[in-house]
């Protein structure tokens, strides 16, 4: 929801500027005529990968949130391929050259859609990143051989989907999930997949080998301990000004992760720089503080500048669904203006103040979905967090804006989540829990929100 606000604002901004310059299509470009600070025509900042010499754009395209549309058969949603094509074209034209996808993204449709869009451009004008997402084979009682075969099949399939004969950046997906280290061993070590991937890198099918990490730090430490032998070309971590010192759940502080990687001179790919969009819009007073400092910057730009300010960062991934997101990010990264010491302090203070709000650390990655009982888990968390940010969560009916806040929360809840998909229908079966990379105790959080909704309803008419 918060993102929507940004969209609208950006969109109106574009529209206004576009009208000023008398151009209708892609009016944002003309914005440079009226502004000097954040012109999109500036040069994209690039970072060099020390192992291959790749010049990677500091803004990377996350392909987890491609635009969707209703399928023509009327059974759910499919990827809006034309939308993807035009986003990819626009990104490439403005210097973005890193595209990060994975087999399960967008309900398994992302790789193919990304491949179609990229195939229309010269293969050497972009880098493709994809992942071995064999976490889905855990807990199925696979033997090491079965794990190996199923994973290799997934690997080969990525080449078909992406219509390529080499992958620039290949990752062991979501290391640290499940039971942490034992799950990592089961997936990659016992099955012998690490050796397979090293061989593929030697053959040139994989140009850079790395892993993405969430959760149990033992898994991270273990893989780094084998760096001398494996030589990781890059590592992908969750890094933003909240997770830097205040990671939630079992996630580890990004400060530690970054330092470990920097010490070994391993390039860092940043994921969740916006915490799933939550850093695109904060509580009103926090927004205002940032706006006072840089009135022309979006709130999201602060989070991107934070991530981009670290020299070992190779690229910062952003899952940009809308052109307006892309344009805003291009302004931020072309070129990137690193944060000053004062700004780092301000962001740290912002993070500290955010911790006072009991928001749910959901990044809307959709890994928990679909819930077999139809609950819209990320939707419920997004609504709750949004209301929290807007000061619409009130603890006591004595608060002066209680009635207003109650109305806004309940009406907004029904608007964004159909009744049957709301928290009170969660039966706490717990099937979602192992899928969550943020390690959110989903049933408990849903019950907490349901309890809050119940309190609001019970207090009606008082």
């Amino acid at each position: 929801m918060e993102k929507k606000n940004i969209d609208r604002r950006q969109f109106l901004k574009c529209l206004g500027a576009g009208a000023l310059a008398g151009t209708a299509v892609l009016g944002c470009k003309s914005e440079s005529g009226t502004r000097t600070a954040n012109a999109t025509e500036g040069k994209m900042t690039y970072r060099t990968n020390p192992s291959t010499g790749d010049k990677v754009s500091l803004l990377g395209y996350g392909c987890m949130r491609w635009p969707l549309m209703a399928s023509p058969e009327g059974n759910g949603e499919i990827i809006d391929q034309e939308g993807v094509n035009s986003l990819v074209d626009y990104a490439l034209a403005h210097g973005v050259n890193y595209f990060d996808t994975a087999p399960p993204y967008c309900r398994g449709l992302s790789e193919k859609a990304t491949g179609i869009a990229l195939k229309r451009h010269p293969r050497d004008s972009y880098f493709i990143a994809t992942k071995m997402s064999n976490q889905s084979f855990l807990g199925k009682g696979f033997s090491p051989k079965q794990m190996y075969d199923a994973s290799v099949e997934m690997y080969r399939n990525s080449f078909v989907n992406l219509q390529t004969d080499y992958i620039d950046y290949y990752l062991l997906h979501i290391i640290g999930i499940g039971e942490g280290l034992p799950s990592l061993m089961e997936r990659f070590v016992d099955s012998g997949l690490i050796d397979f991937l090293l061989e593929e890198r030697r053959l040139g099918h994989i140009r850079n080998l790395g892993f993405s990490y969430h959760g149990d730090v033992k898994a991270f430490d273990y893989l780094l301990s084998r760096h001398d032998e494996i030589h990781w070309d890059f590592v992908q971590i969750q890094m933003n000004y909240v997770d830097w010192k205040h990671a939630s759940g079992i996630n580890h502080n990004a400060e530690y992760l970054y330092k470990e990687l920097a010490d070994r001179d391993i390039p860092v790919v940043v994921m969740e720089p916006l915490l799933g969009g939550r850093l695109a819009g904060l509580a009103e007073h926090l927004n205002l503080r940032l706006k006072e400092q840089r009135p022309e910057d979006s709130i999201a730009a602060w989070a991107f500048r934070f991530a981009g300010s670290f020299p070992k960062v190779l690229t910062v991934l952003s899952g940009m669904t809308y052109l307006e997101h892309l344009q805003d990010n291009l302004r931020t990264f072309s070129p990137l203006e690193p944060c000053s010491e004062e700004e780092f302090a301000l962001l740290e203070d912002t993070a500290l103040m955010m911790l006072q709000y009991p928001s749910v650390p959901c990044t809307a990655c959709q890994y928990c979905m679909p819930c077999p009982y139809g609950i819209d888990i990320p939707g419920i968390f997004a609504h709750y967090n949004k209301c929290l940010n807007e000061g619409q969560i009130t603890a006591s009916s004595q608060d002066e804006n209680y009635r207003k806040a109650r109305r806004a929360f309940l009406i907004g809840y029904n608007r964004s989540i159909p009744g049957l998909r709301q928290a009170n229908h969660c039966i706490a079966c717990g099937q979602c829990v192992p899928h969550c990379p943020q390690n959110i105790k989903i049933p408990q959080q849903l019950q907490r929100i349901d309890h809050y909704v119940e309190q609001l309803k019970l207090s009606s008419g008082q």
């Binding site: 959709q366 819930c371 029904n414 998909r421 706490a428 079966c429 019970l458």
Partner: protein, 508 residues
Amino acid sequence: MLNYMDRKHKKSNPLALTRKILALIFFFGITLLFLDFTGALHAWLGWMAKIQFLPAVLALNLGVVLFLILLTLIFGRVYCSIICPLGVMQDLISHASSSRKGKKYRFGYSPERKWLRYGFLVLFIIALIAGIGPLAALLAPYSSFGRIVSNLFAPLYCWGNNLFAMIAERLNSYAFYETEVWLKSLPTFIVAVLSFVLIFVLAWRGGRSYCNTVCPVGTILGFISRFSLLKIRIDSGKCTSCKLCAKGCKASCIDINKHKIDYSRCVACMDCLGNCQHGAISYSLRKKAKAAAEKKDKAPDKSRRAFLGVSAAALASTTLRAQKKVDGGLAAIEDKIVPERNCPIVPAGAQSLKHLAQHCTACQLCVSACPNGVLRPSGKLERLMQPEASYEKGYCRPECTRCSEVCPTGAISRIGREEKSSIQIGHAVWVKENCLPLTEGVKCGNCARHCPVGAIRMVKADPAIDDSPRIPAVDTERCIGCGACENLCPARPLSAIYVEGHERHRFI
């Protein structure tokens, strides 16, 4: 009282104008009462439903009944012209019909259709005494009106609201919120359509012929209005027998040949006062009028149609609603179906099935007021159109007592919030075959988690095994039948726990 003998022009007479203004206030007030799904207006307008004749009789609201009798004894049947929304609706239809070219003076005297009139009244009284609620509800004017508005106009109102809600959502405003429009009962809907068509045709062609032939309240008030203090009176000395008054009389009750008015049918609309070019008609006290015998002629009424008996065949209640779009990322959710209940559930405050059946006029006010999608008109013949509860869309929430607040007849008596949670309107029944921990082997307990009175505990399905699946055990002594468990049960289309109604509500 004023005497308008001197009026020369057939402009709207001040009395007629007053009547029209008051009538419109009542009409829109009561209509809004049925349309407003937010419940905000009931505090202001609820009394308008409570002073309706039949609801007041059923509620044994002696004060109101006496007031209405007194009102009629003084002014004649102004109740029918002002307070009765169905009467005003007919006036509006008749007015539209009159505004066609050359149709303004389309009426004429027709004698009373006595047998039909008293036949309907006797039928009505028998139905009331015998407790055949649906039959009484078919004839009662206020019930017909409620049915028509809640079935035919409320959906339009809600769709209009939803349009605003959509716009409000785009503007990030919470001024409007969306409400679901669904067909609550097909038989009731059909009855509403038929009543509306019938009344529309009768009013379009014959003005007040429904009121003076079918309506039992009209007939009862007609007895009284014969003796009213103020009456429309014709000065035969001034009358030129131009018949303009009779031609403009929607009640067809002015017999100008004899210079007589059938006061049992005159609804004191005052239109004739303005129509008379010669000042021969007045609304005045008895003593000022010429002495005239009050005998009435009896001849067939001009209303040609007998009231259509509504087919009693109770069709299965179905819900008509748009299929919800299902996102690819969201599991499809099957709609719940209504379980077969041995005993219907009626809302807290109804006291017993019998009490509800005897007092309910099936006006649909509670059904349109229910914010949780629980109440709907019954499709069962013996309780046709009277409210009953079911929990597919929501459950009877502990903080809500809205149906008891709006009921004008006392069929659902007024209860407080605390009281509500201590009335057992039914009890939950567990259906082993549907229960998810047994059928799918998942942990659940959603019924126990949401029971507002803590009547459900999760127990081991097999006491001998430590990690046996947990199943709900209902404490029927504590269960109040609110349906939270049934509504929130994940088993679909039939819940694994459902509520059986109580014939007689109990207090704990």
